[in-house]
Amino acid sequence: MAYLFQQALNALQLGSIYALIALGYTMVYGILTMINFAHGDLFMVGAFFCFLLAVYLELSFVPTLLFTILGVAMLGVVIERLAYKPLRNAPRVSAIITALGVGLFLENFTLALSPYPKHIPALIEHTTWTIGTVSISSLQILVIVLSLVLMLILDFVVQRTKAGMAMRAISWDKTIVPLMGVPVNKIISLTFAIGTGLGGAAGMMYGLAYPVIDPYMGIMVGWKAFISAVVGGIGNIRGAMIGGFILGAVEIMVAAFFPSTYRDFVAFTLLFILLIVRPYGILGKPHPQKV
């Protein structure tokens, strides 16, 4: 039982990171119906920003987090302006390929600048509490709480503010909303900033939880987060959160009871089956097609 609880805690930690990244995928998809395949690499850039700020500027935890989020968000907006905006009316596949290209560019650019894996220093005091046989580290608590806080803020922004209303409106109908005086370009930039900023925050937390970072770390985590977004129903913000926690739980439980090399296999097989049974995800709605 204690073992199970311990694993559940690990699952919550991993799941919250997946959920944070999945939010970026799902927000961009909701508003542009485009899969931003570079998102996993922005997550990686977040981890490297955190490394730079923590090692070379020797900042403490809170400023590092803020500057990481800010930096990655700015990078996200710049990428959107330079690479995705010219393609907004192009065939959708061109946008996807561009996103893949941007992702490869970020990976290889980082690799060219830093060929060796880096080690992120511990930014917070590491204490471990033991309750019975269950051990809880301060880092786990921090990752889980911080992710939940960020998600609550996001949910508030999307559901309760004017900008959030504009986002939901754009994802509802792209042709009418600009006629109503909604500044579409600004809202899209804002969406990218929030989505990639969350990804950057996730990158930093991942870097703190698993301290060795390398330029290719974003690929696998990015795809996993993407799966989370799909499992929840892509385009649906609450679905992305649920999907992230489900995937985290599945992965940790598989690794806990089977050889850990089966983890990816089970995760992807589950995705495969889910997509055949319920192709639009858990919270997603099927889109009727018209001829």
């Binding site: 998809y29 899969i35 690479a83 010219p86 393609l87 192009a90 065939p91 596949v93 061109s94 946008a95 996807i96 390929i97 561009t98 893949l100 290209g101 941007v102 992702g103 490869l104 560019f105 290889n108 650019f109 690799l111 060219a112 060929p115 690929i219 795809w223 993407f226 799966i227 799909v230 892509i234 050889p259 090399t261 089966y262 990816d264 296999f265 992807f268 097989t269 995705l271 495969f272 997509l275 055949i276 192709p279 639009y280 097609q289 001829v291």
Partner: protein, 347 residues
Amino acid sequence: MSSFKAAYHALLAHWHTLTGYKLFWPVFIIAGLAFCVAVDTYGFVDLYLQLILIYVGINIILTVSLNLINGYMGEFSVGHAGFMAVGAYVASLLTVHSFPAGAQNLLFPLAILAGGLGAAFVGFLVAIPSFKTRGDYLAIVTLAFCMIVKSVLENIDAVGGPRGLLGMEKLTTLPWVFFWTALSVWVIRNLVYSNFGRGVLSIREDEIASDLMSVNTRQVKIIAFVVSSFFAGIAGGLFAHALQFINPRMFDILKSTDILIMVYLGGIASISGSIIGAVIYTILLEILRPLGIWRMVFMPLMLVLLMIYRPRGIMGMKEARLFTPLRDLTTEKLWRQKKKEAPDASA
């Protein structure tokens, strides 16, 4: 008398295309094959160049076969490396473990064929979810498939697990690569311009409408996936016996991305585009080798710029005359003539 004259003029007008068209391919194939055999026997081209030519051939097969799904059928498959992996492993296991050491050269085509068939079977399995899911979700299904293949291969110790598979002889020679490349281009080109090919195109344009027009969309999807994965498997087998070493990590999503880049660089729904894309990409990567890691920075940047300024790739939705059937060329010509005679009617 006037109809005689018209027929004569028509013949004269088409004479050039008729001869140029009919003779080009046989001459090209024979000369190419002869060149490859000569290079292989006398070795007057150095080995490095030969290896690049082999990679160009393999990449052409991969690109043309992926173009059938992504370009002509309009789906977005990211799992091509998975099919390639199946072909590579099946063929390598056969040559390493099953075939007698003396008859390797003779049995090599069989191994490649078996690799293709294995991949085709897996492609059939992937085609089934494509009945219900489309677009982005189908992309994810193929992605999941690619990951599953890699993960399964890593967990089977009999095929080397994550260490990979060794012990293949260098059986992939230039003539064989030329043969399989020509075969794949020929088959897919003919498939695309056949009755079946129109079904494939109609799925890209509108699946529901084509279903209503009595296109058997399920059958078309199955055949497209099976053919495409068959050739991916063949390319995998050739790849394994050119490199003489494979491991599951070679066939991950990055490999799929490579193939996707070649397809979209060359242009979707174009055989000639695929060939151009594969050739340019492979050779450019080799030319830029002195740049070291920076070439991997440069290539994606080029791709992004290409997508922004020419989103359909080099040859997107266009076809070189050499690959277009005579029937289509004639129709186009007649249509142009008609337009010239009565410009108002078509406007």
